[in-house]
């Protein structure tokens, strides 16, 4: 029984012996390396070997002199990720794993701002998302303070400071009350990126029409059209006039010109005339023949 057990252990020992004997070179790999920084991997042993550094993000192969530290210059290994290192000498292989981490200083801010045109006075109407990358286009996953600022043509700029989480920060900001181009600026560690947001008038507010006779027709026109913040509605905005009489209905679309939309319609006594623009309905008037 004992002999049988000893024989089994001896068998295991013999099986392991060639591997252990072949392990005559070793390396010492840092646990983490900052992307693009110089580093070295000390080795032991003698003779020639081959060092492989392999990961999905990058691959390197070096012929090395064992017993001497393998030097990597700045910029040799620059893509953040998890790497496997293999030191091969004949049938002997020493292995290690390590991480390359992003640099902490951002170089590029990938900034998505939406929408490019937004109505004024819209709560959380503008959103911004930013991803921070280092010189080597590695996503900087350590927390980073990012400031967002929306600067319009008037008023105090709106500003927010957000800390990135896994490399991303975002915010939502109200659009201004006045129309115009606004600069949406994101900044981190001295790196700035800007997007331009067109803040345009909102829907018409208090849309009203009046009518007066012009021969056989009525001239129907709106009062100057503004949004609820007092911004004039841009030229070209379509206003729809509808005239109803004796069960008939006629509709005319007219673009706004210099704040007003105007149209000539047949003067049918008893006709009802209404106005709308987009989803906004205005007043309704009834033409009584002389009124």
């Amino acid at each position: 029984m004992i002999a049988k057990k000893a024989g089994r252990l001896l068998g295991i020992a013999l099986a392991l012996a060639p591997l252990a004997g072949a392990q005559n070179s070793n390396m010492t790999v840092p646990a983490t390396i900052e992307a693009g920084s110089a580093f070295s991997i000390p080795t032991t042993g003698s003779g020639q070997g081959v060092l492989y550094i392999v990961g999905p993000a990058q691959a390197l192969r070096r012929d090395v002199q064992l017993g001497v530290a393998v030097q990597f210059a700045a910029g040799d290994l620059y893509n953040a990720g998890h790497y496997v290192a293999l030191l091969v000498e004949g049938s002997s292989t020493d292995t290690a794993q390590f991480d390359v981490t992003p640099k902490s200083q951002p170089d590029t801010l990938s900034f998505f701002a939406e929408p490019s045109r937004v109505p004024v006075g819209l709560h959380n109407g503008i959103s911004g998302t930013v991803y921070a990358f280092d010189t080597y286009h590695n996503l900087i996953t350590s927390p980073l303070s990012v400031s967002f600022q929306l600067a319009g043509i008037s008023g105090t700029p709106l500003a927010r400071t957000v800390t990135t989480r896994d490399g991303v920060a975002w915010t939502a900001i109200d659009s201004a009350s006045k129309q115009g181009s606004a600069k949406f600026i994101v900044q981190a560690n001295g790196i700035t990126t800007t997007r331009v947001i067109a803040e345009v008038p909102g829907d018409p507010c208090g849309l009203t029409i009046s009518a007066h006779p012009d021969g056989q027709n009525l001239t129907v026109e709106t009062a100057p059209i503004h949004d609820c913040s007092g911004n004039p509605i841009p030229d070209g905005t379509v206003v729809t006039f509808t005239e109803s009489y004796n069960g008939m209905q006629s509709t005319v679309d007219v673009p706004v010109k210099q704040d007003v939309a105007r149209v000539d319609m047949p003067a049918h006594p008893g006709a009802t005339i209404s106005v709308a623009s987009g989803v906004v309905a205005g007043n309704e008037i009834r033409w009584g023949g002389g009124r």
Binding site: A31, P56, Q58, A80, T95, P102, F112, T129, H137
Partner: protein, 166 residues
């Protein structure tokens, strides 16, 4: 084709047992911190596309064939993987990645819907071949940070980056 993703978004993580040479997949509930709400169908599509991308990644790095990346990777992620493949071909090596398990969590969905970020505590085996001679097999545990963006018919990976595990 990876196994179907089931019952995501529930209160508890869902584990799906491994079939032969297919990874086990766990999906944690999203942790979006107030960004855009995530529909379950979107979550399923993102995870399905991400898991499929591991197959393409493995084949591309195994065969040193850059074009295999095109359907699943774009931008920085594709450029870096393509550069790795070019280097592997130049120095005469290829690598075989076999993902064994994924523990996934979506952590951000941008307000405008243009990007989704996910973290994956993944385990895989990597085999390194020098001119088809197997040099070593290593078991790896890593945390991947992944950013995906919607493309024509699927979510594609724009950032694919491992970082030290906490």
């Amino acid at each position: 084709m990876k196994k179907a993703i089931l019952a995501m978004g529930c209160a508890l993580a869902v584990a799906i047992p491994a079939l032969a040479d297919q990874p086990t997949v766990q999906v944690q509930p999203p942790d979006l911190h107030g960004s855009r709400p995530l529909e379950k169908l979107t979550e399923s599509a993102v995870i399905r596309d991400y898991l499929e991308s591991w197959e393409k990644l493995s084949a591309a790095l195994d065969q040193n064939h850059v074009d295999l990346l095109n359907s699943d990777f774009l931008g920085t992620a594709r450029e870096k993987l393509a550069a790795t493949i070019a280097t592997q071909a130049k120095i005469g090596i290829h690598t075989h990645y076999q993902d064994l398990s994924h523990n996934l969590q979506i952590v951000f969905y941008s307000p405008e819907g243009q990007s989704i970020q996910m973290v994956d505590a993944v385990e895989y085996d990597v085999q390194v071949f020098d001119h088809d001679k197997l040099m070593a097999t290593q078991h790896v545990k890593a945390r991947y940070v992944v950013v995906l963006t919607p493309a024509e018919v699927r979510w594609k990976i724009r950032v694919f980056q491992a970082e030290p595990q906490a």
